[in-house]
């Protein structure tokens, strides 16, 4: 198997790189500062796409997990894709939390807030960190595929439950002052919403590129594992013969 990525992936990478460069210009120079948050609002142009990417990545993991579990569609590729996408998802979830924290400090005055979105994102991070740890317990897809797929699906279903329960808690909570902060960011005029949408687009290209590269890497590792397994078996057979 080639250790190089395909042409399509390279084009994706180039497109992502260019878009992200353009995004930096739009976000840091062209877009105006917010009335209330000032320039801190510019963090939204990376924080929001990062969060979107994380959810997209975990969605892909869930779909790939289903495809693995269904016997008719079962294939090593789905297991590898699930793992690759989840890893990218964890990276972006971590980034989401950090960027959100950096945005929250000047805007809310605190590094952290126990509202539904932030809390759920934190739980999400650990759910999939556990998934990644689980993936390392099996060297080949055959060994780890089913248990990882089920763990991924449980995690995926659990996230809306966590979000719902914390949201509910917020609405029932007595102290209105804590949760009445204006957590929703306004994107007014033209350049703000444009930059945001462009950011989501650029990050989606980035995701596509990263997942293709990560998948190739996973395929190589899998191939090497299977080769080592075959060699070990062949050695054993040679001894007994």
């Amino acid at each position: 198997m080639s250790t190089r990525v395909g042409v399509g992936t390279k084009i994706l990478g180039a497109a992502a790189f260019v878009s992200l460069g353009a995004l930096a210009v739009f976000a840091l120079v062209v877009a105006p500062p917010d009335e209330r948050q000032g320039d801190a609002q510019r963090l939204m142009y990376v924080h929001v796409p990062a969060a979107w990417l994380a959810y997209l990545a975990f969605f892909v993991t869930a779909v790939a997990s289903v495809l693995w579990l269904v016997p008719r569609t079962r294939s090593t590729t789905w297991d590898l894709l699930a793992g690759a996408s989840a890893e990218i998802g964890v990276v972006f979830t971590g980034l989401t939390l950090v960027l959100g924290s950096l945005w929250g400090r000047p805007t809310w005055g605190t590094w952290w807030e126990w509202d539904a979105r932030v809390t759920t994102t934190a739980v999400l991070f650990f759910l999939y960190l556990g998934y990644l740890a689980l993936r390392r317990t099996g060297a080949t897809a055959q060994e780890r595929g089913t248990r990882c797929a089920i763990a991924a699906l449980i995690a995926f279903v659990d996230v809306p439950i966590v979000h719902f329960s914390v949201t509910w808690w917020e609405t029932l909570h007595q102290e209105a002052t804590v949760f009445n902060r204006d957590l929703d960011v306004q994107f007014e005029g033209f350049w703000m919403p444009f930059t945001l949408i462009f950011a989501v687009f650029a990050f989606t290209l980035l995701y596509a590129f990263l997942v293709m590269v990560r998948l190739r890497l996973a395929e190589l590792d899998e191939g090497r594992e299977e080769r080592q397994l075959e060699e070990a078996i062949a050695e054993r057979v040679a001894v007994t013969v």
Partner: protein
């Protein structure tokens, strides 16, 4: 308002650093796989 730029710069720098590190790690592993392939 100007001191908010500190947070913005920190955020963008961290983003670029993390993405570069992750991308770099993958590229490095692909290269190592290429060398191992050549040895076979």
């Amino acid at each position: 308002m100007d001191d908010n730029w500190g947070y913005v710069v920190a955020g963008y720098v961290i983003t670029i650093a993390v993405l570069s590190a992750y991308g770099g790690w993958m590229w490095f592993r692909l290269r190592r796989a290429r060398r191992a392939d050549l040895d076979h």
